[in-house]
Structures are given as structure tokens and as C-alpha cells.
């Protein structure tokens, strides 16, 4: 497809009309929410203003507009003026006026500074820069002009890419990747470029925009902003309207359905249903709208690597949450541009590869689709998906029904993550090592276990060797049954598997996640990190088989 026909470019050309539609439809949704029992417009506004003032005081970010606190204080004043009004009619008018202003602000913040000319520039320049940077990182200063092929060796694409490419011409693609690291936004963008897929509209965390240079590029690469601090109804409705309308207009989209990065290191087993719901709703609306029968294809993507840059901080947050310390303010650990560059540099220079596994495309009910985009049942029947949206003989929008469909879709995506997960050597050794230590200290709870020191955690090499050969058989059996994918090295000799795993697991961290000690035993310098990497293989019930 020519670049001028890319749906994302079209969306941009109609940007103002699009934003107006987002505002209008968000306000309609909010009116419905306000008309429910135990709610009112003034109630919605008061809660929003209260939460936003709280946010500007307690979690200010560099990316926030200047004098934002003043704006919200003014809104607060206006609210108290409204409550003092006599006439109900005037009250409603003024409430709606304020709501419109708030939603307008959100809609423009989410949309960002996206514009065509700089987008073209970024699309042309960023991947080239990125490749150049990566090859430099990989080959050192000497490999100044290394070609891109080597970089694509490093970022390996697996799975149903050809099918996704074909489907991109027939309908609208929604990519839903797993999320472990802040780097994922960049990696998946780069993966999409390598796979020669048309560009996607992203939902990128607003925190990434705290870094100006990264923000500049992501902004222009097709990213819209998602701010997880803002949990008020007008913001959430605007965000959902944005995503839904973009998909309705045929814009290929991408968001992380887990919401935030996995804190525990395990793959998502529950998804956030808000944005995912917009996919189902967009499909329902397309089918009801006779002129736009475009089908939506959902493609789960599993991102796999041997180490997660922010693992230390993530696992700490996870343990805190698990320990019921629920109220805490999130600090941003993603540093300056140069720190990020350092991260990326290390990431690629330490010889560790990245795998992007594209799952089988499905419709919004989780039925797999064939190469023509037709939905296929488990016994091979072609399914007429429009009929899922027929109630009492008519095509209808039913929120309650569609929220159940969203849950079904979420379950299917989680199932697909497990199947498409490419198990790496480092996942296997860390899972096994942690489980073996756990078996030894059966009476300990997690927190006691994590306090174990190097003196208590060594595992005899021969024992480890024996256990890993048993585990390897279990994994190969699972692969045969299509329950997961194995990186080729995992099916080779046990010695190679152990070596490769120990070398690669959490390779960037200053403390060794696993190492072979002077007595030839396998040991760890950091139980927290071992726990984090071990969690990657949760959900397959391997614990019982070790």
C-alpha cells in the first residue's frame, strides 16, 4: 500500500474532525454515566476536579503543562459558583460547559502533536537511526557502516507476520503485546518497521514523554498518550472514545492490554478491559453501520528477551504490593535521554537477542481467522461474526453483552500469550533454580525465601543437570502439543542449555542472577531477581513437575 493511503496518515489529515468526534462522543457517554442512579453531572465533575488537584500536588511530572494546578483550582472555583446558582437550567448549562472544556483538554492531550510532515520525517529517519545505533552497539566502533541485516538478526520476528500483512489490507489490525519493559514501546515499533507492516497508532505511557527527546520521536511515530495517573471518568471516557473511533476509522492500532509493565516478571494473566472493550465496541459499531463493514483482527504479540532493564525496581514494587502496602506513590525510574541511550546500548551490545512472536490473528470474539480474514471455528466452520451482535433478530449495540465478549477476548489473548511465548534458556534455568531452592525451604514463605543468602542457595551442578534434563522433556512435550514455543537452543544438549541460560539471564544487572561458584555449584547473588525471572514461566503448572 502506498504511504499516502496508510490509515494512520488519513486519520491525521482529518485530525480536527476526529478530535471533535472524540469530544462529542465522550460527552455523550459521560451524560449517560451521570444519569445513572446515585450519580449526577456535578458529582462527576467534583470527583474529577478533586482527583486532578490531588494529582498535581502529589505526582507532578516533567511532561505536565505549566501552571496546570492553577487551571484545576479555577475549575474548582467555577464548580462552587455553579452550586450557588438558583436556576436548574442554568446549572446544567454551566456544568456541561465545564465538562466540555475538561474533555477538550484531555482529547488534545491524548492526541498529541502528531503531524504529517514530521511523521514522514520520523518514519524515514528514526528506524535508520535506530538501526545505525543498534549496529554500532553490537559491533563496537569498528562496525560503523554495518548493514541492517545484522540488526534484524538481533531482533527476531516469528509467527504469523505474512498473514498479518495480508489482513492489514482487508481490515483493521489491533496489536496487543505483552509488556515487561519501557523499551517495549520502542522495540515493538521497530519490529513493526522490520516486518514491513504499515505504521500503527500507539498508546504510549505519558511517562515516556517525560524524556523530551524520546517523547519527540514517539509523538511523531504515531503515539497517543495514556496517563495512568488520571483515573477520573472524563479522562477514561475520552481515552476510550479516542481508541474506539480511531479503530472504527480503520486505523491499525497497538496498545498494551495488561495496562502497565508486569511487576512480577510473569506474563499477563489478567488484562485491563477498558481499551480492549473499545475494540469490541468498534467492531459492533462497524457492523451496525452499513457503509463500514470493516472487520477487526486482533493479534497478540509476545516480546521475549533475557533481561528486563528495570527488573530491580519492578520486583520491589511487586513485593510491596503483594505485602499489602497498597498505598504508595510511583516514582519514575526511567531517567534522562543519555541513561536511556546507555540502556539501549547495553541492551544490544551485550549480545542478547530479542524475539517478537506474533500470535495467530483472531476476530474480536477470539476465533482464529484464516488468510482471507474469515473467522474459523475449532471444527473448521466459517463463522459469520456479525451474528454475535444480533440480539432478538436485530443488529444491536448492547453494552452488557459486549463487556462479556471483551472478557472472552481477554481470556483468548492470555491463552495465546502462553502458546506464543518463546521460552528462552534463561527462563528455564531461572525457573528451575528458584523452584529447587523453594523445595529445599518448604516451610518458608516467599519473604523468608527472598532473604536467603548465597550460603544457603547453592545447588549442586549434577543435581541441577539431572533436574534440567527432566524439565527439558516436559518442555519439549509441551511444545509438541502447541502449548508454548521453545527457542532452538533449549532443545539441544543440556550443557549448552545451562551455559547459555546462566550467561544470559539478567545479563545487564550488576549482581549476577545466576553463576557457577568456585566449587562448581550453581548459585545466585540476588534472590529478588531470580524470583522475577523465574516468574516468566508461571501459568503452565510446571511447579508440580519439578
Amino acid at each position: 500500500m502506498e504511504s499516502k493511503n496508510w490509515p494512520l496518515i488519513k486519520l491525521n489529515e482529518e485530525k480536527e474532525a476526529f478530535v471533535q468526534q472524540v469530544i462529542l462522543e465522550s460527552i455523550n457517554e459521560l451524560k449517560k454515566i451521570a444519569s445513572k442512579k446515585d450519580s449526577s453531572l456535578i458529582d462527576v465533575l467534583e470527583k474529577t476536579v478533586y482527583k486532578e488537584i490531588f494529582r498535581t500536588i502529589h505526582t507532578p511530572w516533567a511532561v505536565d503543562p505549566k501552571k496546570e494546578d492553577r487551571k484545576w483550582s479555577k475549575y474548582k472555583q467555577r464548580l462552587s459558583q455553579i452550586t450557588a446558582l438558583e436556576s436548574d437550567e442554568e446549572k446544567t448549562d454551566r456544568e456541561l460547559e465545564l465538562l466540555r472544556e475538561i474533555v477538550d483538554g484531555y482529547a488534545r492531550e491524548i492526541t498529541g502533536k502528531f503531524n504529517l510532515s514530521s511523521y514522514k520525517f520520523s518514519v524515514a529517519v528514526v528506524p535508520v537511526m535506530f538501526s545505525w545505533l543498534l549496529s554500532r552497539a553490537m559491533n563496537g566502533i569498528k562496525g560503523f557502516f554495518t548493514n541492517q541485516k545484522k540488526v534484524s538478526d538481533k531482533v527476531q520476528l516469528k509467527g504469523s507476520i505474512d498473514q498479518v500483512k495480508k489482513l492489514a489490507d482487508k481490515g483493521t489490525i489491533v496489536l496487543v503485546p505483552t509488556h515487561f519493559s519501557n523499551l517495549d514501546s520502542i522495540l515493538i515499533g521497530y519490529g513493526v518497521f522490520l516486518a514491513k507492516l504499515p505504521p500503527f497508532l500507539y498508546g504510549a505511557g505519558l511517562n515516556l514523554f517525560n524524556n523530551r527527546i524520546i517523547g519527540y520521536f514517539i509523538n511523531r511515530l504515531g503515539a497517543y498518550k495514556v496517563d495512568r495517573r488520571k483515573k477520573n471518568a472524563p479522562y477514561l471516557e475520552t481515552l476510550k472514545a479516542f481508541s474506539r473511533i480511531a479503530i472504527e476509522r480503520g486505523t491499525h492500532s497497538l496498545f498494551f492490554p495488561g495496562g502497565t509493565r508486569s511487576r512480577s516478571g510473569s506474563m499477563e494473566d489478567k488484562l485491563k478491559l477498558g481499551l480492549l472493550g473499545t475494540v469490541v465496541e468498534a467492531q459492533a459499531k462497524n457492523f451496525i453501520n452499513k457503509e463500514n463493514q470493516k472487520k477487526i483482527f486482533v493479534v497478540p504479540v509476545v516480546i521475549g528477551y533475557h533481561f528486563v532493564l528495570e527488573a530491580q525496581g519492578l520486583v520491589k514494587q511487586h513485593l510491596k504490593q503483594k505485602g499489602k502496602e497498597k498505598v504508595y506513590l510511583q516514582k519514575e525510574q526511567f531517567g534522562s535521554f543519555f541513561q536511556v541511550l546507555g540502556f539501549i546500548w547495553n541492551f544490544f551490545s551485550k549480545g542478547s537477542e530479542i524475539k517478537l512472536s506474533f500470535g495467530r490473528p483472531m476476530d474480536v470474539l477470539g476465533n482464529y481467522v484464516n488468510k482471507h480474514g474469515e473467522s474459523i471455528s475449532s471444527n473448521g466452520r466459517i463463522i459469520d461474526v456479525t451474528k454475535y451482535f444480533v440480539s432478538d433478530g436485530k443488529l444491536k449495540l448492547l453494552k452488557q453483552r459486549d463487556s462479556q465478549y471483551t472478557q472472552i477476548l481477554a481470556d483468548k489473548i492470555v491463552e495465546s500469550y502462553k502458546k506464543e511465548n518463546i521460552v528462552l534458556s534463561s527462563h528455564i534455568v531461572s525457573f528451575l533454580a528458584f523452584e529447587l531452592i523453594k523445595k529445599r525451604y518448604e516451610a518458608f514463605d516467599l519473604y523468608n525465601m527472598l532473604r536467603l543468602t548465597e550460603n544457603d542457595t547453592a545447588i549442586e551442578y549434577l543435581f541441577f543437570y539431572k533436574k534440567i534434563s527432566e524439565f527439558q522433556q516436559v518442555l519439549i512435550e509441551h511444545e509438541k502439543n502447541g502449548k508454548l514455543r521453545l527457542d532452538p537452543i533449549c532443545e539441544e544438549g543440556i550443557e549448552e542449555l545451562i551455559q547459555d541460560g546462566i550467561k544470559n539471564v539478567g545479563i545487564y544487572h550488576t549482581k549476577k542472577v545466576l553463576f557457577v561458584d568456585s566449587l562448581g555449584r550453581i548459585n545466585t547473588k540476588d534472590m529478588n531477581l531470580l524470583y522475577f525471572y523465574h516468574n516468566r514461566l508461571l501459568g503452565y503448572s510446571f511447579e508440580d513437575k519439578i
Binding site: 470474539l365 476465533n367 471455528s377 475449532s378 471444527n379 466452520r381 463463522i383 459469520d384 461474526v385 451474528k387 454475535y388 444480533v390 440480539s391 432478538d392 433478530g393 448492547l398 452488557q400 453483552r401 462479556q404 465478549y405 472478557q407 472472552i408
Partner: protein
Amino acid sequence: MNLSIKPKKKVGVVGAGLFGCVIANLLAKNCETYVFTQREESIKQINEGGEIKGIKIDQSIKVISDPQQFANTCTLIFPVVRSYAMRSKMRLLSPYINPDHVIIHGVKGFDISALDIASIDGSSKIDSNDIKTMSEVILEETITKRVGCFSGPNLAREIDKGQMAGTVLASTFDEVIKQGRKALSNRNFKVYSSSDVKGVELTGVLKNIIAIAAGALHGIGYGENSKAMLISRGLAELTWIGTILGCNPSSFLGMAGIGDLVATCSSQLSRNFTVGRMIASGKTLDEVLNEMSDVAEGVGTIRVINGLANKYGFHAPITQTLFKILFEEMPIEDGLSYLMHFPLNKDVDFISAQAPVAQ
């Protein structure tokens, strides 16, 4: 004002057994009702407005024996068959079921087709993934997602006489409940709603265990005190089994739970009650099963729960003792004495649905 009469909705019942016929009669009051069956005798009886198992078939009910024609005619379908026949019936219909079909079953039983029943003994472990509820079977075998179930104290003959009764209709889809209620309810039959499908299904399956025990107590000659004790302890046991299997404990306190349990333990004609009574009279399980023409689902359920308890390590004293009595020739008196001395002295905490702790 528009006075034209809206055409009645077309609904289908799968199965023409005793309960199937009663449900068809109930539906015929509100809807144009079709019964899907391929048994010659049933087809003849329905066509002639005759009787099946003593139930007079409403004359408006029509029979269809072609699965495609049946699925094309009705978009709202009520399977009311034996649990072991559910999967094969769904496979028969599946090629013609579309995403706009709504399926609400009234079947109390597990699908255990993944298990090798003959090889199960007292120490076998059963994985919960090998046990399917009926709604799971429907979802596995067909492409529709809009599925529900109904269950409650619904003794077939009483409903057919038009006596006052109620049932719980469960689905995660509001529209399924709405359609089901509209089709089933009338002034003597009230339909309550729930979103805990698995919970409502399990109450109907698990209560059969306690019904067998109630029959045994009756057979020995014990009276109301003993029965009341059994029902309350039994309800506690069912609740924690249900909770372990992932459903909402409050379903067991509802009409599909305690309501159905009381009805089943009081009905001396029920198949499960009869099994217990005959065991108490000194017969072996094989003798009992040979004498009975119909299947008592509780026997299979006891096996399944015993296997689940082995696998997941929970206590279900009544079920486990019944297993020993039925399958391992434990004398019934020993079983009762074991239960009376089971070191558990606290009254039941239903709400938290805690597993029993031996003291």
C-alpha cells in the same frame, strides 16, 4: 393502538425425557415450542399429543428430528438431556448453531468423557480440567457464546401439575436471562436470576451426593433430626467443594443450593434417594444399579469429588465416606460412626466457606 398479535417466539427443547417434556409444556404456555428428538416412540407420542412417562404433551408442541431444521427454526434452545448425552447432542446440532443462538440448559451433571471411569479407585487423583460443567460443554462444542443454565428445586411432576415453584437462571449475559425468563416464567413458575453460572450448575450436581446419604439414613430408619443434621452439614460440605472449584459460595445459600437440597432430600421417589435407601437395606452397589432402570447421577459425582479431593487435598467427609460405602464395601454403620466422630465440632461458617479444620 396496534392490536395485531405479535407472533410467539419460537423456542426449542432438546430431549424428550421426563423433565424435557415438563419444560416443553412450560414453554408452550408462552412460546411456539419445538422438541428435538430422534426416538421413534417419542416422535409418535408428541405428534399425537400423547403421553411420555406419564406426562401429557401439550398439543401445540411440534417435534423436529432433523438437527438442521431444528436449529434454523429456533434461536432459543433449552437442552434438557442426561449429562452423559449432552456432548453428543451438542455435536449433532453444532454444525447448524450460529453465533446468534442462545442456549440455556437444565441439566444437572458433569461431563466426564475425558476420564477413564473403569480405572478410577479410591486413591485415583482427578484433575479439575478433566471435569466439565454442561455450559462448558456447550461452549466447547458450539460457536455461540450466549449460554446459560437453570437449576432449582424443580421436581418434574410437581411442576407439570402446575404447583407453585421457582428456579434460578444463571448467565453472564443479561439478555440471556431476559429471554430465558420471558420464555419460562408464568404465574406459578418464578424465575430468579444469577450471574454465577458455575455455582448454579454445581449446586445442582453436588446435591445428589447428599440425596444418596439422605436415602441411606431413611433406609436405616432414622428420622427428621438426623436428616436435618445431614442437610446442614451437607450444605457446608457442598459449599466448600464449590468454593474450591471456583464458584461463589452464596449460590449455595440460594434457591438452587439449599432450596434444591431440601427438596431432593425430602423426595423419596428421587433416583439418588432410592440408591441410598437400597444400600442401607444391605444391597451392594452393583445389585442396586442392576435393579434401577434409570441412572442415579449422584453415584458418578461421588467418584469425581473423591478424586478431586485426592488431587487437591481437601476434606469432604460425607462424600469420602459415601465413596467407601459404595465402592469399598465399608459397612454403613461404620461410615456413620466415622462421621459422628469426625473431629469437627464447630457449627458451620457458611459465609466465609472455610474448609473444615480438624480440632
